[in-house]
Symmetry: C2
Subunit: 317 residues, 2 copies
């Protein structure tokens, strides 16, 4: 098994995440080039000095020549189409992605025959802004970057993608696609729905209410400012897990509503919420580090998945 330390990077799609991969890879001294469909972004990225192709096949050809790792960073609904074209082109480069759901993307990769060279990825980073203009070389610094350890993933592929994430300043969380999807429904997809509902309930109070809004409303609705297509794609591609998380939230809110009506107090939810937030603070402040992973061991996938389940991260490989 030949694992290279640092491969060239080919980024397909130069929105906020793809653009940040390009900028961060360049800053890390990696050879990097990209493809983007939008003429405006193409011009902007070229003007900033980056190598960008205006034809997907040209980028894939260059990737093959340079033995690059291919990062598919197009919007979720467009991912399957890009996989189809990569499959049609052929080649042997490792392919990863940055999408916010992993099981449907893994299924799409396998459907298109990319299974053996595909390694799902998901950097937990991004702001309410979008597009190349919002791309930032520092976006991944300290961020968690999920790298799939599903059955089809090869050790060489995992190492390639994990090294890319580490090289861009992230830490790696190994996870199975399905477990990732259930987790992000709770901590990423549900927040979008709650933020939207909070924004609407506040706005229904008119200008007095919006004018009085301070930190708790500003923070609680920040993500409602995102491109709606993002939250909708999360829901569409992770529906069952989002419903599971939303049903739990609804049960808790209904219980609080009942308590409020009976007693004027919301019940235990506020106190348990504080404990939950403290648990998050603890894990954010100091995460267990996975040491001594040997990708030559037959059970490396299971070991890494188990470590990821405990919140552990890889800081190096």
């Amino acid at each position: 098994m030949a694992i290279r330390d640092s491969s060239p990077v080919c980024v397909i799609g130069l929105g906020q995440i793809g653009g940040s991969v390009v900028k961060a890879a360049a800053e890390a001294g990696r050879e990097v080039f990209g493809y983007v469909r939008s003429a405006r972004t193409f011009d902007a990225a070229r003007a900033a000095g980056f190598t960008v192709f205006g034809e997907l096949e040209s980028a894939l050809k260059h990737a093959e020549l340079r033995r690059a790792v291919i990062v598919v960073a197009v919007p979720l609904p467009a991912t399957g189409g890009v996989f189809a074209r990569i499959a049609a082109f052929g080649g042997s480069c490792v392919v990863t992605d940055v999408g916010s759901v992993k099981a449907p993307i893994l299924a799409a990769a396998e459907e298109h025959g990319l299974g053996g060279r595909f390694v799902g990825g998901h950097p937990m980073a991004g702001s309410a802004n979008s597009g190349w203009a919002a791309a930032d070389a520092a976006l991944f610094h300290g961020a968690a970057w999920v790298v799939s350890v599903d059955e089809a993933v090869t050790a060489a592929g995992f190492a390639e993608v994990a090294r890319l994430a580490l090289g861009l300043g992230a830490v790696v969380v190994p996870a199975l696609a399905a477990e990732h999807d259930r987790a992000v429904a709770r901590i990423s997809h549900l927040p979008h729905l709650l933020a939207a509902v909070l924004a609407n309930t506040g706005a229904a109070g008119g200008e007095l209410a919006l004018g009085l809004a301070a930190g708790s409303f500003r923070d609680g609705t920040r993500v409602a400012g995102s491109d709606p297509a993002l939250a909708e794609a999360m829901c569409a591609n992770n529906t069952a897990a989002v419903i599971e998380a939303l049903d739990e939230a609804l049960d808790a809110l209904n219980a609080a509503r009942t308590k409020l009506g009976l007693t004027g107090l919301p019940g235990p939810v506020v106190r348990s919420g504080r404990e939950s937030r403290a648990a998050y603070d603890r894990i954010a402040a100091q995460r267990p580090v996975i040491a001594g992973v040997d990708l030559e061991e037959p059970d490396w996938r299971e070991r890494l998945a188990e470590a990821g389940r405990r919140g552990a991260i890889l800081r190096r490989l």
Copy 2:
């Protein structure tokens, strides 16, 4: 009507808000002194060079002597008791408060016979931290500070409290107590409940979920880290308005749940949420300013209440 430009300030209770009033007033060059029950805070505030009394009556006596404005900044459940002691002491100083609900506090002030000298106030500021150690002279800079224009409020009292808020760096939002309470249920009390539920739903996903949590979860749960007594006091003292806001949020979430189950998409909530957040951003960026208020006009209260309803603020008096 004699309206003074700058009265001494007597602060009862030196938690985050009361302590910030003390520090900000001192920084603004105002004469300021306080009372606090906690021996530890008493020592800390004294050590920081502030004039602090360890007996409430001593502070009230000094306030009367100095013709100070009295700022009651104790926790909500303790406010009525402090009003009773101020009433028993007598005196003639203007009394204001900083509590997060206004109608029950106005009722308590009137019940204790303080109606004619009481002017409810609510600075929309504060962090998830609490106590004197979290007090900050800059806490009110640019913050909205609600000042009551209810019927019992005198022009002199309104001017006294508005000048205090302006002097500490805030802008003044005139509002009726009941309208304030319905507004803050939406933009301050509801966010506490949603943040707690989001924190719990995330934590139920275990360490993998909490470890993957990024901006949307961190921001959406920030206020869940507050002292639970705060959110509980908000609910207990503003129950009907909190229930109204929570019921609206539940209706919206149930509708999204139904749509998700049928279509895999959450319906219009995400797009309307983005518009609502944009409306908030607009009003936060540029608020209408109330010009030419004349507190000698007989309808000054109605005029100010109407301006506040439109999201307008006073920047000077």
